[in-house]
């Protein structure tokens, strides 16, 4: 099992550690709800050093990334971040990821830890361009500072005017003298930053951010990372996305796919699927009866299976028992009453939108 550079810090904080994507990661420090509320109301800091980073360098770096990535890389400007996916020729998802454009001949891909090896093998297989693809995951550590007070806290540690760093852009900057990459991105639905650097730098920055934040910040574990991303309907690979689910079925086409731009692997399947309309899609569900909805529970209409829950929780922010679920059409329409099987009992659910909580990004 791999450990991140912050492992000792987590243990010192008495975190409950779990295996996640081959890494020993903090699940909970104090409680999921408490950490969740810190991120929604003040700020939280996550160790996300397990994430994978690939460098693509060379003359045709952009062309290569565009070929394996669903979003439009050709439209990117230097310092921009784009969300999208790598697809199999079937249209199923290899992984969802962020692409950072440093300049025309240098791109960075940030991928899920649990998929990093698979992604690297897949990308390497498709690499027939004049560029070099390297896996930098072991060299780069990362923390995510998220929450409405994120900017105020990070500003204490840098002369860079963070108000000029807009949503989904990044820059190299000095954080307490350490030159690191900072992007205005995240996975919580709140404003915030993701900070990439070498092990020693990130180890110091973690400590410095916690000190700078004082009572307004808490270390946040993977437990609340999942409840936070869930409430704003951000997908998790393995739940809302998989090799058997296309971005259209996941309802993520508008933010991750540009069919009108250049070619990419899997595009023809998406074009066809868009024309014919998908047979199923991810929707929101609300439980009418009592209980909690969980990943994998089956959904029925009049005794026939019509779908499955992809992620479910009692929302820490709203207290509602809700879920995201992959549902066959036409049972995906809002207000449709369906049944969920929870431990051999059928309980009532109703289809709703999947905005369980409203995002508050700094989009300008």
């Amino acid at each position: 099992m791999k450990k991140t550079v912050l492992y000792d810090a987590h243990v010192a904080l008495d975190a409950q550690m779990v295996d996640f994507g081959g890494f020993l990661m903090p699940l909970i420090y104090t409680s999921i709800t408490e950490e969740h509320n810190y991120v929604r109301e003040k700020a939280g800091i996550f160790d996300v050093s397990h994430m994978g980073e690939f460098y693509i360098k060379g003359k045709e770096a952009g062309k290569f990334v565009d070929y394996i990535f669903t979003n439009d890389v050709s439209s990117m400007v230097d310092g921009q971040v784009l969300y999208g996916m790598m697809l199999y020729p079937t249209g199923g998802v290899v992984d969802d990821l962020l692409v950072y454009k440093v300049h025309n001949e240098f791109y960075i891909m940030v991928v899920n830890a649990s998929n990093a090896d698979k992604d690297f093998a897949w990308a390497t297989e498709q690499q027939k361009f004049d560029c070099v693809l390297t896996n930098e995951s072991d060299n780069i550590s990362e923390v995510a500072l998220q929450g409405p007070l994120a900017e105020e806290i990070l500003q204490k540690l840098t002369d860079y005017d963070l108000s000029t760093l807009t949503f989904f852009t990044f820059s190299m900057m000095l954080i307490n003298g350490k030159n690191v990459l900072v992007s205005r991105t995240g996975y919580t639905g709140e404003d915030g930053f993701e900070i990439y650097g070498y092990e020693t730098e990130i180890k110091e920055i973690w400590k410095e951010i916690l000190e700078a934040g004082g009572e307004n910040i808490a270390p946040a574990g993977l437990g609340c990372r999942d409840t936070l991303r869930f409430e704003v309907a951000l997908p998790l690979y393995g739940n809302e996305l998989s090799k058997d689910i296309t971005p259209l079925e996941a309802g993520l086409a508008s933010i991750s796919v540009r069919l009108e731009a250049g070619d990419f692997i899997g595009k023809d399947v998406l074009v066809k699927q868009k024309a014919e309309k998908t047979k199923r899609r991810i929707v929101g569900l609300k439980l009418i009866d009592k209980g909690i909805l969980r990943h994998g529970y089956e959904i029925f209409k009049d005794g026939t299976k019509v779908g499955e829950i992809t992620t479910g929780y009692r929302s820490p922010s709203t207290g509602e028992t809700v879920a995201m679920a992959m549902i066959d059409r036409p049972f995906d329409k809002r207000g449709t009453e369906l049944e969920v099987q929870i431990r051999n009992k059928m309980k009532k659910v109703v289809v709703r939108n999947k905005k369980f909580y409203t995002k508050s990004y700094k989009e300008n």
């Binding site: 909970i28 209980g291 009692r314």
Partner: protein, 125 residues
């Protein structure tokens, strides 16, 4: 270090049984509530339901996951702790005073096969 109460019977799946006035009260241990984390929902059986030793008696949902409660004994449910339906978090507050079901035992000799506090303590270490 989680709390263990002397004089109760325990299972290796972290339930406890307390016998009082000929009835058995079943709950989950402090160790169980601690590892579950914040409990947000409990699914209880109904009165008159029969319970089989080792079978599912109900379920507890924490923020992060669902977990079965296994019945340590065979018997019939005579009462459920209804306050847990509205306030399942009471199990986090005190797992030993908040029993889950009150049961009429079918076979008292089953109790002898359960763990005592000392034996249970070893499991939690």
């Amino acid at each position: 270090m989680s709390k263990i109460v002397e004089g109760l019977f325990y299972t290796n799946t972290h339930e406890w049984v307390k016998v009082e006035d000929g009835f058995a009260f079943i709950g989950i241990t402090d160790y169980a509530q601690e590892s579950l984390g914040e409990i947000v929902f409990i699914e209880l059986p109904e009165e008159d339901d029969s319970l089989e030793k080792g079978e599912e008696l109900g379920a507890i949902e924490s923020v992060k996951a669902a977990s079965d409660i296994l019945s340590p004994i065979t018997g019939t449910v005579v009462e459920i702790n209804e306050s847990l339906e509205d306030e399942p978090e009471l199990l986090n507050t005190d797992a030993f005073t908040n029993w889950i079901v009150k049961v009429e035992l079918s076979d008292e000799s089953e109790l002898e096969k359960l763990l005592n506090a000392e034996q249970y303590k070893e499991i939690c270490e």
